[in-house]
């Protein structure tokens, strides 16, 4: 095994369901329903019925405890061979990236010939947790043996205990929402409201144009009555965006710049990506969209240190480029997940900053400037929405197809995640 040459891990294609804003089209749909649908669309697109896939890996950020074996349950509900192993992965918004990257590694090592990676999330069917005090009482009740002890435990329940703890995107260690964290970073990097709105508008226009030219015909399968991402506003304009009031960073007063439009909304959706070795693709007459070259995770100390919550991809990218001996000039596409327009713009600015690149990234000078004409050319999360764990699969499948269409070149994919983490990856067109 140790002496085996490293093989290429090939992205064969992908499938996702249209992404839906929270509490809209997928309001009565579970994570399992959505990922199974994404899987079934993938199976149908590539004729995988009855096939044993090496592994299915993915996860959800917001997950019911009953979904402990989510991926395996989805496989059992799919048309794949029931002998397909599956396991759950969770790394906040980078779940899909981590799942797919690790599968690619296993393919490269010869441990797997085929694999499906992805993710799913719902904020419409999110788990609701009882309050900590009620939970303590219920646990006490379950331990009680005598009737008296049981009644004693029950007697402690007060109406206030019944208020559920809704899930949030707050950081456990700071108590601040992701948006409030980003508002600090956005302000610190001096990102203007106008620049953020421009990025948001471009995302909508690019996504609409991609739909228009049929780019998603072999990337998306309609689900539950929805055929397109319903957050998409093809008719958006700078005027319309300028009218919105700030949603985050309100403590900044006049200097608050982040609105509901230049931040991603809560979204439901699922995505899946089919990977394989070259032999697997050839033997099954499957297309080869791109090679999954390499990926890198990073984390920053946003709790005690001074770094912004969502800046980890800036660090991961520096390390990944160095390891692969590449610079920005070597890339044809940059897919930077738009958690917030401010995240993308702060990251771009950081890479252009001599000070940041020297002091934080340990480089000799700025990492460089990303050519904006190569950035998120088919739209990104501001327009499509961001079902946390499903975003990685969306990005990797779409980017692989872009490289396939171009027939050459490389792409950098960057996804930030809660907990001050991030994962970036390099894809390369098939020669």
């Amino acid at each position: 095994m140790a002496d085996q040459p490293v093989r290429h891990a090939v992205i064969i294609g992908g499938n996702r369901i249209p992404f839906a804003r929270s509490n809209t089209a997928y309001v009565n749909v579970s994570n399992q329903d959505m990922f199974t649908a994404a899987l079934e669309g993938l199976v149908a697109r590539f004729g995988l019925q009855g096939q044993r896939i090496g592994a299915v890996s993915g996860g959800a950020v917001l997950k019911h405890s009953k979904d402990f074996n989510l991926m395996r349950e989805c496989v059992l509900g799919s048309s794949l061979d029931a002998a397909t192993p599956a396991y759950d992965v969770q790394m906040a918004c980078a779940t899909g990236m981590e799942a797919i990257g690790s599968l690619a590694n296993k393919i490269k090592l010869g441990q797997l010939d085929s694999a499906i990676g992805g993710g799913v999330d719902t904020t419409s069917d999110a788990p609701i947790v009882v309050s900590e005090s009620l939970r303590a009482i219920l646990l006490e009740l379950s331990r009680a043996r005598s009737t008296k002890a049981k009644l004693g435990a029950l007697a402690k329940i007060r109406p206030a205990h019944l208020a559920p703890s809704a899930p949030g995107t707050g950081e456990p260690r700071t108590g601040m929402s992701m948006g409030e964290h980003q508002a600090i970073t956005t302000h610190a990097w001096g990102i203007t409201r106008e620049a953020q709105d421009e990025l948001a508008l471009a995302s909508h226009k690019n996504l609409a144009a991609a739909y228009e030219r049929g780019f998603f015909d072999d990337l998306i399968t309609a689900f539950n009555g929805l055929a397109k991402d319903n957050n998409l506003r093809a008719d958006s304009s700078m005027d319309k965006l300028a009218k919105l009031k700030p949603a985050f960073g309100k403590s900044l007063g006049e200097q608050a710049t982040m609105t509901a439009a230049n931040s991603t909304p809560l979204t439901d959706g699922a995505s899946a990506v089919l990977l394989g070795s070259e032999d697997y693709a050839q033997e099954n007459d499957l297309p080869m969209f791109a090679n999954f070259v390499d990926f890198e995770a990073a984390a920053v100390d946003f709790v005690h240190g001074s770094e912004g919550l969502l800046m980890a991809p800036a660090y991961a990218t520096a390390r990944l480029l160095k390891r692969n001996n590449l610079s920005f000039e070597d890339f044809d596409f940059f897919e930077i997940h738009e958690a917030f327009a401010g995240t993308v713009l702060a990251t771009l600015k950081a890479w252009e900053s001599e000070e940041f690149c020297r002091e934080k990234l340990g480089l000799d000078g700025p990492l460089g400037t990303v050519d904006r004409s190569k950035l998120n050319v088919n739209g990104s999360s501001l327009a499509a929405g961001h079902p946390f764990a499903a975003t990685g699969g969306r990005l990797i499948a779409s980017t692989a197809k872009m490289l396939h269409e171009k027939g050459s070149g490389r792409a950098l994919i960057s996804v930030c995640a809660a907990g001050g983490q991030g994962v970036v990856a390099i894809l390369e067109a098939r020669k």
């Binding site: 199976v43 149908a44 004729g47 049929g214 998603f216 015909d217 072999d218 399968t221």
Partner: protein
């Protein structure tokens, strides 16, 4: 969607009641299953034909109990009338009366198939008269058949004979449950082209077939039928129908291709998908279609143009691509409609598109034949689908009961079976034709 009336008059107490009241009782049709017999009883061959003995031998090799003369008192599953050597209407009498005598012996779901020659303008008048007369007689016989039995005909054009591959193919089709809802129709064998399958249980084995509009209704049933017959199926539909499309694909072990057939590059994308993913393209079923009904006085451009664009213009454009690629032996089967033949109120646009299909098929036959291929069409009558379920109940019941000889609507599978046959190599000699699958109805949707 199901025809509840048919169920009521054919089962239990309500069957007795319906008989007592003299209500029309539509029969249960004999449909195809991989393991069902070709005919529900012995077949009697009446009349003479140059190669009648070869025909009998072939039918015996199909496992049929073939009777060459009077069958005595035994029941019959089929009747073949060899009428191709007749030269005067006066000669019809003996065979038709013998047929009449045999009709009482037919079991439910039996088949009568005539074999004749085409009546042409340069024939002797008496010869043309008897040949055209057979057409009228058989169509009338179709209307007299009971118990789901049907009467259809094979016309031998040019130098073809009853043992030409497509004549035998057509005979098997008419015999089998595949033709359950085909009644009073003729198929003309034009050439010696074609060959019978090695395995009659899998006539499309090894073929790659594309079905457009495959997400639901007739298209989904076509995909299932072609897969059952051994084909690898590529299922095409609009991205909006993607989830339904994927479900059908996963049932039949096919692959999905989401596209709008009116897109300029639809033909190329279909061809690329079939060739790169499955290695060949052997059959294309142009099934995708829409209705935008309106009386012509109230018609708008959007309704008219979209129907033409989807139902006929897209097919013309895709066919050009397939022809230019010179795909060897490519068979195309297109969906026409009886509306395109008989007309239908509120459907001028639809009928223009479906009549257009019939014209396109006729005029494209020679082009596809150049590469060993063929193009044919199926014209469904009233078929029980989501689309026809929207027709008001009264109109729907009349359409099912009164107009077709078989007194019921057809099922999507009836259309699919006809397409499976016309798309097979056994039907190559039928190039250019449109077959009605309408239960011998006068109108259709």
């Amino acid at each position: 969607m199901a025809d509840k009336y048919l169920e009521l008059v054919n089962s239990g107490m309500t069957k007795k009641l319906a008989k007592l009241l003299g209500l029309p009782r539509p029969p249960r049709l004999r449909r195809y299953g991989v393991d069902t017999p070709l005919l529900p009883g012995p077949v009697l061959v009446l009349g003479t034909s140059a190669r009648a003995q070869e025909l009998s031998d072939t039918m015996v090799s199909w496992g049929l109990d073939v009777r060459r003369h009077d069958a005595g008192e035994s029941k019959l599953g089929g009747l073949v009338l060899l009428l191709d050597e007749l030269s005067h209407p006066e000669q019809l009498s003996a065979l038709m009366l013998a047929t009449g005598a045999a009709l009482r012996k037919l079991v439910p779901g039996a088949r009568v198939v005539s074999v004749s020659k085409p009546a042409l303008a340069n024939d002797e008048p008496a010869i043309a008269a008897v040949r055209q007369g057979i057409d009228g007689a058989m169509r009338s016989l179709g209307r007299e058949m009971r118990g789901g039995a049907t009467a259809n005909g094979i016309v031998l054009a040019g130098d073809t004979s009853i043992v030409s591959p497509s004549a035998l193919g057509a005979l098997r089709f008419f015999f089998s449950g595949r033709s359950a809802y085909v009644d009073g129709q003729f198929l003309t064998v034009r050439t010696e082209a074609g060959e019978l399958p090695e395995d009659f249980r899998a006539p499309l084995a090894g073929k790659v077939a594309v079905v457009t509009g495959a997400a639901r209704g007739i298209g989904a049933e076509i995909a299932r039928t072609l897969a059952r017959d051994g084909a690898k199926v590529v299922l095409v539909d609009m991205p909006q129908a993607g989830d339904a499309l994927a479900k059908v694909a996963n049932q039949v072990g096919g692959t999905t291709l989401q596209l709008d057939v009116t897109a300029k590059d639809a033909g190329q994308r279909i061809m690329d998908h079939a060739l790169t993913r499955h290695g060949s393209l052997d059959l294309v079923v142009h099934n995708a279609g829409i209705t935008r009904d309106k009386l012509l006085a109230n018609m708008d451009a959007a309704r008219w143009d979209s129907v033409i664009a989807v139902n006929i213009a897209s097919q013309l454009r895709m066919n050009e691509v397939f022809l230019a690629a010179k795909l060897p032996g490519l068979r195309v089967v297109s969906l026409a409609s009886t509306s395109g033949i008989a007309g239908n109120r509120g459907q001028t646009n639809y009928a223009a598109s479906k009549g257009g299909v019939i014209g396109m098929v006729r005029a494209s036959a020679a082009l596809f034949a150049e590469n060993g291929g063929s193009i044919t069409a199926v014209a469904p009558g009233f078929i029980e689908t989501e689309m026809t379920a929207k027709i008001p109940l009264g109109t729907r019941t009349v359409a099912r009961l009164v107009l077709p000889s078989l007194m019921q609507g057809g099922l999507p599978v009836d259309v699919a079976e006809a397409i499976g046959f016309l798309g097979s190599d056994a039907a190559a000699g039928l190039n250019g034709q449109t077959l009605r699958v309408c239960g011998q109805s006068l109108v259709g949707a």
